[in-house]
């Protein structure tokens, strides 16, 4: 059961990720990413992290991706053109990615001591203590300060976002001028 569930939803993850790369319209990429997020939520459930699965759906898929979708629609981003933007990205970047993947894969496959994922097993083997109880015990006692700091961080982020995205002084309906003369550097 575990195996089938894993294979199905891992497949959804990979398919969504590859689809994100292959699509040319950003909104399609956003939707693929939502697929990835929700599949990951299921995988978290399989690993016994129930709270995180819920948080993944609520926060990531439900808030962040919605934000992304809003921005895509607001800015009316169209299809991408296929142009050669950067030689370095191809020449240097791809081998780098391949190397990263290869190293990680080799290490993962050769390391000793990794066990198996057991369904139903949580953080502790003590029955009666749920995942969310475990988390909140730590979060509200030992890590209370970072927790509160995180909420301040989110507040700051909100303020920052508001400040950055508002119209500047001047005409609120001013359209951006695509003909502003700027020097171009040679794109690599």
């Amino acid at each position: 059961m575990h195996l089938i569930l894993f294979i199905v939803f891992a497949g959804f993850c990979l398919a969504g990720a590859i689809n994100l790369l292959l699509q040319s319209h950003p909104i399609s990429s956003a939707l693929s990413l939502i697929v990835v997020m929700t599949s990951l939520a299921v995988l978290y459930l399989l690993l016994g992290a129930e709270f995180l699965a819920a948080a993944q759906v609520i926060v990531y898929a439900g808030a962040i991706m919605v934000l992304f979708t809003f921005v895509v629609m607001l800015l009316n981003a169209g299809r991408e053109e296929r142009t050669l933007g950067s030689r370095a990205a191809r020449a240097v970047g791809f081998p780098a990615v391949v190397a990263i993947l290869a190293v990680l894969a080799t290490v993962i496959l050769h390391v000793q001591g990794l066990g198996v994922a057991t369904l139903g097993e949580g953080l502790t083997n003590v029955r009666g203590s749920t995942n969310i109880e475990e988390l909140s015990t730590v979060l509200f006692t030992r890590l209370l300060l970072p927790f509160e700091v995180t909420s301040v961080l989110i507040l700051v982020a909100i303020l920052g976002a508001v400040a950055l995205a508002r119209h500047g002084d001047g005409d609120p309906d001013a359209k951006p001028d695509p003909n502003t003369k700027l020097e171009r550097t040679a794109a690599k």
Binding site: G85, S86, R87, A88, A89, R90, A91, V92, G93, P95, A96, V97, A99, I100, V103, L104, V107, T185, A186, A187, K188
Partner: protein, 663 residues
Amino acid sequence: MNGYPHLWLIPLLPFAGFLINGILGRRLPKWFVTTVALLAPLAAFGVVLSAASTVYFPFNVTKCGPCGPPNYGWTVVVLPYVENLATWINAAALHIDFSFVLDQLSLVMLLVVTGVGFLIHIYSVGYMHDDEGYARYFSYLNLFLFFMTVLVLAGNALVMFVGWEGVGLASYLLIGFWYQKKSAADAGKKAFIVNRIGDFGFLIGMFLLLANFGTLTFSEIATKLGQDPGWTGGVVTVIALCLLLGATGKSAQLPLYIWLPDAMEGPTPVSALIHAATMVTAGVYMVARTHVLFDHSPFALGVVAIVGAATALFAATIGLVQNDIKRVLAYSTISQLGYMFLACGVAAYSAGIFHLVTHAFFKALLFLAAGSVIHGMGGEQDLRKMGGLWKKLPITFAVTTVGVLAIAGFFPFAGFFSKDAILYAAFLQGPNGKILWFVGVVTALLTSFYMFRLWYLTFLGKSRSPEIHPHESPWSMRGPLVILALLSICGGWIGIERFNGFLAPAVGAKAAEAGNPHLELVLSGVAVGVALLGWLVAHLLYREKSTLPANMAAALPGGYKLLANKYYVDEIYGAMVVKPLFALSKILLGWVVDVGVLGGIAWLLGGIAMLSGAVLQRWQSGNLRSYAAWLAAGAAALLLFLLVPWPTVLASFFGIHFGMAGH
């Protein structure tokens, strides 16, 4: 004073004067500068006297404060008195201290240096009164005194070398004092460079001393030489000749005398102090200090004597036809230094030192008087334009007369006793000595002639420049003149035998010669006779028939030109040494090093910077994707570096090869 000579004060006081006047002098009022400048040599002279008194009048009071009433006692300070100030070099076998030594020889030199130095300082107050660089002048003078006292007091060759170089430096600074004048700046350079050539010899001598004796301390060298009778000839000769080279550079002997006439570009008190009384005598002093080396090498002694005699004659011949009053005196100095070297060359060191002392008196006197004349004539230095000054500058005339009589060697002036001692010692030296004696006598004749020529042309007769109205110098200038004149009169009365006895512990007693007083009287008579002859000829040429010199010069044009142009020595050196050096420098240093190596390095660095800049510039494109790519590459490299077990990988990689090779 607590009964011990504090030798370290003697150099320190002039050094303090140098610092104060050098650093603050420009902002201080003139009277302050003068006071500091005069106090330094006076105080140094006082310390020398007190040091002498601790030896010869050792009564002193040692105050024993809390333990009772003062204690009147006698401390016995025995010469040589060594004062070790600090350790300088302490490296394995080499141990050199900053040590000062007071013995009879250094005591005599110190009295001359600080005493005559003080008189010249007083004279300078008047002479340099209107000069813009007043404070700078006195700071340099004090610096010179500092180095000279270090040189005299030195207990080992290295400290002496410090003083040696230092007086060279002070000489350069003072000769080129009026540095805006090109001839003065050139003369300063020439003096320093020629000195350096001599110093090379001194250095080689020091190295050889170290290599053979392991020490540079004079007393230790003397002990080692005395212990082992095998030290004769060979390496000792080489060392002595090297040291002699240094002495010829400093004391203006053949072949390194060329800087001294040019050094007359400096102010006249400088010429008096440095180039007559003290610095140029450093070479003689050094030979006397290291006399044990010369004693053990008859060959080197012979070279010294020949150099001295030849220089004396050579310089005297040039001095016959010079027209600048200071040049005449300069060549006279070279000639008299030749006498001192001649004395050392016949191992009569105390006679040489005796002549050094009397020469300091009358040569300083003559230079200062010449300065007085120049000052009175408003800067005129040409003999042909002077004349008839005996009425206008009476005191200067009187003291100059004393000086001329002293240098010519008339009885009972100072020069008579010292010059006679030298000639007598030379005569007794065997057949070669008689030749040296003859050369000395001829030189005395020439000396007398050109000094009286100077006397006649400057003071007597009618004035050849009626437009100039000379005035007598201020008392600050006349006072030292009078004192020096008195010393020139009675400086020799101590007599050579007593002087010999006094210096004997320091320079070694000359074996009692089997000379008889009759011979001495006869030789003295000959010397006085030639002096009179010289006066007579000068009188004839410059008083009676004043057209005769011109006719004689016209009769022997070649000879006259040769002498007037100083035997073209400067030109010869210029062609043989200076020009090739310039050419070599231009090619080797100018082109190869300067343009090639250094320019090449600069060009290379610039090229590297530009090249790397050009390469790196393309990297910073502002393109987000390329930045991201390089980020990923960096991350990949880091992961590779951290996660791959390189030792095993590399070992297996190479191990496979080895394994296969092994099979």
